[in-house]
């Protein structure tokens, strides 16, 4: 029966071209707007590191003074340098890394290339295996390098190409600020979105191009970028022992049991610090895996959510509109339905046929919506937001678009089709 229904639907839709177009456009525009905003939301709330997001944990401690304490309040999302270095030394996780954003002025030794600045990350050796960072040449530095303030550096492929015109540059050295650093590894293209391990540097988009040991960066007094929060005056806020939080700390733990054990360790550590007089507050620690962390840090911009709601509201009105138009359309051809019922078509088959007609409108609306979603995402990419270039329609979202259009038009068709098949054949035939 389906091909017959399809044929009838097609003829019926062609008879009222204006009305049909209106319905297709309404569904298309509604679906296009919804899918544009949903895709942006989907991209923004993506898991940045799916293979390890439940093994990686952000660590928070509370080293602030007792004055002004508010029980149960969220500890700072960064650590003091003293605590971070102690936790790296304790090495209680499978892997752990301390880190800070930075900026490095590079003086190229190549003629004709002016000095320039890149975003950098000062971190410790486990950073690379922990965050599954891919290398194209060489590899990470070692924990021994960290301990020795070694003059080593890892750079991205793009930076290697810019500086040397090639990627096979392991063993060569570059001049960063005042130090000559030996390249030990070159990263393959790598970017994580959102930039979960340090959200103080913008959430989406850019990544660092240069990585050097945290210890080395402090010895050479490299510039630090990010948020710095001190609760007492400090001559050198980035020095060891300064009353300031500015270091991010991540730990990799195998399973929930290991996480519980680590949390206990953090509580014990805080307690020890308090007994030693360094901490004033009772232990107040947090250990959150990547999804939890992103949730608590409210990474997805609230504007993106608001836009999605606006678009869904719009789609809903478009659907109400379509319900009204379909009803109009089906009832207008009441006589035809009457004839078909009189010659033996069951209510069920009328209902099915009318639904096919609604579905056909949905398919057309979906095609239009898909085009509009591509256009909408193109417009989003032209915006100067930091997540602009991420806004692309992937395969699941493409199917979701078509599905949304068809399902919503079928829903819109339910009531009109029901009313249509309830028409009494005799009355429809009599009045004409």
């Amino acid at each position: 029966m389906f091909p017959y229904y399809l044929d009838r639907a097609w003829r019926s839709l062609r008879r009222d071209v204006g009305l049909t177009l209106l319905m297709v456009v309404a569904i298309g525009v509604g679906v296009g707007a919804s899918m544009t905003t949903l895709t942006v939301l989907h991209v923004l709330s993506a898991d940045p590191i799916p293979e390890a997001s439940h093994q990686l944990y952000a660590v928070q401690l509370d080293p602030r003074p007792a004055l002004g304490m508010d029980p149960g309040e969220e500890p700072s999302d960064q650590l003091t340098r003293t605590d971070a270095e102690a936790l790296v030394r304790a090495a209680r996780g499978k892997r752990q890394a301390m880190m800070s954003g930075g900026s490095a002025a590079i003086e190229p030794q190549t003629a004709g290339l002016a000095p320039f600045r890149v975003d950098a990350r000062w971190t410790s050796a486990d950073f690379f295996p922990m965050f599954r960072v891919p290398f194209v040449a060489g590899g990470p530095w070692s924990a021994a390098d960290d301990a020795a303030n070694a003059r080593v550096v890892v750079i991205t492929r793009a930076l290697a190409e810019k500086l040397f015109g090639q990627i096979d540059v392991v063993g060569r050295s570059i001049r960063v600020e005042t130090g000559d650093l030996r390249i030990v590894g070159v990263l393959d293209s790598w970017s994580v979105n959102p930039h979960f391990y340090d959200l103080h540097q913008g959430t989406y988009g850019q990544s660092e191009q240069l990585f050097a040991p945290f210890s080395t960066s402090r010895e050479l007094k490299f510039g630090v970028d990010g948020s710095l929060d001190c609760w007492e005056n400090a001559d050198d806020p980035h020095g060891l022992g300064a009353p300031c939080v500015w270091v991010q700390f991540w730990v990799e733990l195998e399973d929930a049991a290991a996480a519980d054990a680590y949390r206990d360790f953090l509580v014990g550590y805080s307690d020890d610090q308090r007994k030693a007089g360094r901490y004033q507050r009772p232990p107040n620690v947090r250990l959150r895996d990547v999804p939890d962390w992103l949730d608590v840090q409210k990474v997805v911009p609230s504007d993106a959510r608001l836009q999605t709601w606006v678009a869904l509201g719009f789609l809903f009105v478009c659907l109400i509109n379509t319900v009204g138009l379909l009803l109009t359309k089906f009832l207008r051809h009441g006589a035809e339905i009457g004839v078909r019922r009189a010659v033996g078509a069951s209510k069920r088959s009328i209902f099915a046929q009318l639904l096919v007609e609604a579905g056909l409108v949905g398919v057309a609306g979906g095609a239009l919506g898909l085009g509009l979603a591509y256009l909408g995402l193109w417009a989003v990419r032209q915006q100067p937001t930091d997540y602009a270039e991420l806004a692309h329609l992937d395969l699941p979202m493409l199917f979701a678009t078509i599905a949304l259009a068809v399902v919503s038009s079928l829903c819109a068709g339910l009531l009109p089709a029901w009313r249509g098949c309830q028409l009494t054949p005799a009355i429809q035939l009599k009045s004409h």
Partner: protein, 402 residues
């Protein structure tokens, strides 16, 4: 009046009538909230900075390696910049209004206040800073040259401050702030002047504190502050910016210059998210109104077609064209009114949810009459074409059996 016959007709077409009312109600609810949000965003984009943005350009600079005497080099830079044709005034500073990153401190009228309830943005700069900004002192005086202290000096301490009117009112409500002392932690500063307006580099501390700024007479070098602010003669910003790089490189090499832009560009990029949100909401609202209007056209056309014979009979019995036209206009008016009443309720419910979820303020009552009039007009316009078609139906049609 046609009122009762219309109601009884609508009762017979209950489903279709309900759908139209529902559509108008939802459109009304969404558009009222959208108009309100658009107004909010536009108002935010109009936040005054307090400085003469159209005459200001800035450059950020970063030195490579250690600089022996940054203060002296900064002074040389400023002299060189001042010599560029078209430049009126120059200052070295730490931040600009709407520049996004900035320095903050908690301030209080009592020393060592740990509540941290008020934070203000800290502007500092060389002597010509206020003149370069073009800000208006509404009380007190500018800093004297003796008050300026080299910010890079060990234990640099100043004892005077200039605050914005909003910050003064916050710290000393209802009193003259001049001569009063405010505290940055335990450091006392005497308020010597009040300026009308000076926006913070960002409003991350909340909208209510967006105008809490203060200026300290700390002569800051480029290695610490990283920003030169240049006031130019109107219309010469581009020309001056083009000369900045070469001028500063001549003073000293090994520095990187970024963010060469006018403060109007700084403002534009600061508010770009608000702008695109406003555009999106305007677009959606227009689309909604169009879709709703087309829906009304579709349904009204169907009703006109369905009632052709009925209209013909009324015409034959003496109803004028105007009567028929009025009938359909009135019918639409009744539907729109029902939609608007339901829609206003929905609008408040929606606003309530937005207040919870997105910290949106309460919907002002002024939006309601605007929304109502807009939807009445929209309905009347949409129904006009089908109603005119109905009015043209000839009485003869009643005698014909179709």
């Amino acid at each position: 009046m046609d009122f009762l016959p219309i109601l009884s007709t609508l009762r017979r077409h209950r489903t279709a009538a309900t759908l139209v009312v529902l559509e108008i109600a939802l459109t009304c609810a969404i558009v009222s909230n959208a108009v309100f949000l658009i107004r909010e965003r536009l108002a935010r984009m109009d936040t005054p900075s307090g400085v003469v943005e159209e005459e200001l350009v800035r450059v950020r600079l970063i030195g490579i390696g250690q600089t022996a005497d940054a203060a002296a080099l900064t002074a040389q830079d400023l002299v060189a910049l001042r010599a560029i044709p078209g430049v009126k005034s120059v200052a070295s500073t730490n931040q600009v209004p709407f520049g996004n990153s900035g320095w903050n401190s908690s301030v209080s009228s009592i020393p060592d206040d740990v509540s941290g309830s008020t934070t203000a943005s800290l502007y500092m700069g060389t002597q010509d800073l206020l003149e370069t900004w073009g800000v208006r002192l509404i009380a007190g005086r500018d800093f004297t040259p003796e008050e300026y202290v080299d910010a890079d000096a060990k234990d640099a301490k100043v004892s005077s401050a200039i605050v914005t009117r909003a910050l003064a009112e916050r710290l000393f409500p209802g009193q003259s702030p001049l001569g009063r002392t405010l505290y940055l932690g335990s450091d006392p500063e005497t308020i010597v002047g009040v300026i009308d307006e000076l926006a913070r580099p960002n409003d991350r501390n909340g909208p209510e504190s967006a105008a809490y700024s203060m200026v300290l007479p700390l002569s800051i070098s480029y290695t610490t502050g990283g920003t030169y602010l240049i006031r130019v003669e109107p219309g010469r910003g581009g020309e001056v910016l083009a000369a900045v790089d070469a001028t500063l490189t001549k003073v000293a090499a090994n520095r990187i210059f970024t963010h060469l832009e006018s403060l109007t560009e700084v403002r534009d990029s600061y508010f770009r998210k608000d702008r695109s949100m406003a555009y999106l909401l305007i677009g959606v609202s227009l689309a909604l109104l169009i879709i709703t209007a087309l829906g009304i056209v579709g349904l009204a056309s169907f009703w006109v077609q369905q009632r052709t014979r009925q209209i013909g009979i009324r015409r034959a019995l003496g109803a004028s064209r105007g009567d028929i036209l009025r009938y359909f206009l009135l019918e639409n008016f009744i539907l729109a009114t029902m939609g608007i009443v339901v829609g206003m309720g929905l609008a408040y419910a929606l606003n309530h949810w937005l207040m919870d979820a997105y910290a949106v303020p309460r919907l002002p009552a002024t939006v309601l009459p605007i929304g109502a009039v807009a939807l009445w007009l929209l309905g009347q316009l949409a129904v006009l074409a089908p109603a005119l078609r109905a009015a043209r139906i000839s009485p003869a049609i009643a005698t014909r059996s179709v």
